[in-house]
């Protein structure tokens, strides 16, 4: 850091007056304390969920709740597998002697259950990944090109078109579930992954067009014009000059689209049955099968949370710039 000011005298930053007075130190500590309290408040449910996911069935329902417990993978294994009950009379001890047993087989055999296959939840999770991933990629790509066109070219009826795109967001999506359900049944899109992908893409498109247009508007045209006179075509200029500068906007848009598509519940419940069912509507259905498996539900919710958390974490640097976007003027 440059420590000389205009008069050439050195400033000792360690003794800046505003940092040593009692009052300012107090407010700083108060602020920090408040932040910690809010963070704890927000994170308790998450912690509870994570803890429950690693509890055995007995610990999960213990009263008072156990803070310290023997961690167990029961919840996760139960969620992802199909099992059958085996009693000692049916040869439970013989099964335990099998040398080819994996660690998860042992965990369940100790509970008197034999794993016979993967559960339907695995398929639902796969559906979720495909649906959310594909629709996010599509809406970001389409959104990027649409936003670029709206930003740079004199599109006829630009204002009306942009308002129309925005207007698709003005109603809560749930309102149109029944018409769409009827439409999809007619079109043969009911209970298909492609049906959900189309729906999520369209819903996210309005969002991504508007968000990305804002980002592209902020990139001065001169950069592309410089590339044009430097000997590049419009498309080359777009990929070489505009795209690298839109990364922030792309990251922010991707995360928001992904969160919507990943979390979406209402349409998924209405428009899917078996084939295309995604994870969100299937987690509660665990409730129904043989008592409430709290550990399994918590494991499902946590597993569901992790992918979005990873993507958000990976893009956090861009996101931070994306969220504060427009607040800082050049």
């Amino acid at each position: 850091m440059d420590t000389s000011n205009s008069t050439g005298r050195e400033i000792n930053y360690a003794t800046r007056v505003d940092k040593v007075t009692f009052k300012s130190r107090l407010t700083r500590n108060l602020k920090a304390g408040l932040t910690v309290i809010i963070a704890i408040f927000v994170l308790i449910p998450v912690f509870w969920m994570a803890a429950t996911a690693f509890k055995s069935r007995a610990d999960a329902v213990a009263a008072p709740p156990k803070v310290f417990f023997q961690p167990s993978m029961e919840g996760f294994i139960g969620l992802l597998t199909q099992r059958r009950q085996v009693t000692v009379a049916q040869g439970l001890d013989d099964l335990k002697k099998d040398p080819n047993l994996k660690w998860y087989d042992r965990v369940m055999l100790n509970k008197g259950q034999q794993i016979v296959g993967t559960s339907e939840y695995v398929g639902y999770l796969k559906n979720s990944a495909i649906t959310a991933g594909t629709s996010t990629i599509l809406s970001v790509i389409f959104g990027l090109f649409a936003a670029y066109a709206f930003s740079r070219f004199p599109v006829a009826g630009k204002g009306d078109l942009l308002f129309f795109i925005l207007s698709t967001r003005m109603m809560p999506p749930v309102v149109v579930t029944i018409p769409i359900f009827l439409l999809y049944r007619q079109l043969g899109l009911y209970d298909t992954t492609i049906g959900l992908v189309i729906l999520y893409t369209v819903f996210n498109l309005s969002f991504s067009v508007w968000l990305l247009k804002g980002f592209i508007d902020e990139i001065p045209r001169e950069y592309e014009e410089a590339a044009l006179v430097d000997g590049y075509s419009r498309l080359q200029a777009f990929f070489k000059i505009v795209l690298p500068q839109t990364i922030t906007g792309l990251a922010a848009t991707t995360v928001f689209c992904l969160i919507f598509a990943w979390n979406e519940y209402a349409f998924a419940v209405m428009l899917t049955a078996q084939n295309a069912r995604t994870a969100p509507p299937s987690i509660p259905s665990v409730l129904g099968t043989g008592g409430i498996e709290w550990a399994q539900i918590a494991a499902g919710a946590m597993g569901f949370l992790i992918p979005v958390a990873i993507v958000t974490f990976a893009l956090r640097n861009y996101l931070l710039r994306g969220v504060t976007f427009g607040a800082v003027r050049r």
């Binding site: 001169e222 014009e225 410089a226 044009l228 006179v229």
Partner: protein
Amino acid sequence: MATIELKNVVKKFGEKYAVKPMNMTINDGEFVVLLGPSGCGKTTTLRMISGLETVSSGNIYLNGRDVTWAHPSNRDIAYVFQFYALYPHLTVWQNIAFTLQAQSVKKDEIERRVKDVATLLKIKHLFKRHPGRLSGGDQQRVALARALVRRPTAFLMDEPLGALDADFRETMRSEIKHLHITQKATTVYVTHDQIEAMAMGDRIVVMSDAAIQQIGTPAEVYHDPANLFVANFIGSPGMNLVKGHYRAGKLNLPGGGVYTPSDIWKTRIEKQLGDDQDVILGFRPEAAWVVTQDQLSAEVFLVEMNGSNMMLDLHLSDQVIIRVRANRGVNYSIGSRINFDLDPQMVRFFNPATEAALVME
């Protein structure tokens, strides 16, 4: 290298003219400055030459080739933008090499040419930096390097010094001029700063209201302005313009003064306007000198010390203020009356109705 020719080039935005029908020929190796107040169409003209703006009608020729509808990338023209437009995500080296990569120049050739041009502009030490972290002057040099490295047929520069500090602007001004002298590349340079235009241009194209007002060398536009706009716009301060009434060889000025034009001018005025007519007298501040007696008289209103000389603001009458240059050795007190005379060689006359200068055939 290249000649640039504009034939009846027009640009309209909706119903409004951005550039009225324009004809102009820029010769090979010439440094032409487009000069005018903001919004006069000079940047639009430059952008049409580059192809970044389409023309509404008319034709543009580069070396005789019609490029009116050619894509900017096919014109072999380099453009220096007002705010440089250096690609922020590329390093200085990548910025300069970017244009050569578009032409699929061999790698070692790129290396060599980027190095050569960077040596010329003294920016080799900046290769690995990103443009956002450079000073304005260094950004300017990189922008020039990016234009130079291509060896284009022509350079177009849009107020390239506009974003620099005043003192640094002069340094860069002479650097650009020096580059032009060594490279001998056809250059079209846009500015609103008439001092810059006078200092740099081989020829100046003065524009206003979307039209060319005058094309000429710096000396021509300074001494022989084609109309009142040019007379007023060029020079700081601009030409003194005083409306008077001409009758029988005498010009009656506001405030009761009488100026007697030279015999040549008398015939010109009578031939071009007629006797007993209003005419506008124009003269530069340095065309007037203070004399002890007779001639024109005026009241000293303000005295400005300009270093090498003094600028006097004189009240000819209550409404008419003229500015004349005076010897700095003398003390002029405000409110006193002084007499002055005009250099007959440097006096010009204008037609008040058409605002055009009287012809000096």
